[in-house]
Symmetry: D3
Subunit: 69 residues, 6 copies
């Protein structure tokens, strides 16, 4: 299984919030950094994930914004 | 300075590739994970980054795809 | 502070709608054009914005669709 | 003709840069603000735009990042 | 009317779900494949679509993820 | 293997164009509709695809723009 995207991290689901149409998944990536994903509840239910599950996180490089301070 | 996005990581620039119109920045995030960003060369030049620089990486949660294996 | 994105406008927050998981911010850009941003309520609360506040609006060029009529 | 997106601006094409695969279009929106769009050369050629042409610019609200300073 | 995007399909609206802020449109594309779009309720109301309507579906190529199994 | 995205089509690679930094993949989906994906050459090489290969095409519903005519 290969993905056409530069950013591929493994993560642990830490929390799931369900809205009326969309859902939000909190994720812990290595070194205790936190990430989050938003998707439709339909997709969330298809995934069938729960806190503690290991998932893969995919982000296309074009969606990564770099900021300098 | 605050960003309306759930994913905010600090990263170190490790490599920069320049195409004819777009540029690709390789980034090291904590725990030696690698990420990448693609932007226009115009934006790359505005940023003025070089390998070794510390940057902030911003990704909206909607652009994060979760995959289970 | 520099952003790796071509589109950077200053805007004034004119209205905020809160859903159950996501929020929508209405923005007035120069010449009375209107824009809008959608984000998670978590991000909206982190921003702490209210109508009348001045914000910066960032859009990567790849997310701009050009249409001819 | 209606678009399922919150951000719809009219703009004038001011410059076009052609890379090897992608193209970049500079746009002037009201009040002399500048925007930019990146697309494939295939799409650029389909559009058949040139500097001075009036176009419509569409951005989904989810792709608009709000930043406070 | 031309769009600066590589992916342009005709589709039929098969179902519409309204959340509190966002809406989800189910679409049938040729060969009975299903697609879906999420947008703000504001945009959904502007479109004024209902099941059975024919619409055009636009996706920029950069938002298409290719996966091999 | 499950993906947190509403749009999942099977497709056949019909053509690959390589730029200097980005690559473009042409895809045939059922009923002879055509789609396209743009990614970095790095991702294209990781995928290792060639014309004739079957792939899976993933698009998050938020990246699907609906237009009525």
């Amino acid at each position: 299984m290969k993905y056409g995207a530069r950013n591929q991290l493994t993560a642990e689901v830490t929390d799931i919030k369900r809205g009326t149409l969309m859902g939000q998944v909190k994720l812990k990536v290595p070194a205790d950094a936190e990430m989050a994903s938003v998707m439709t509840l339909d997709s969330l239910d298809d995934l069938g994930i729960k806190p503690g599950d290991k998932v893969r996180v995919i982000v296309k490089a074009i969606n990564v914004l770099v900021v300098t301070e």
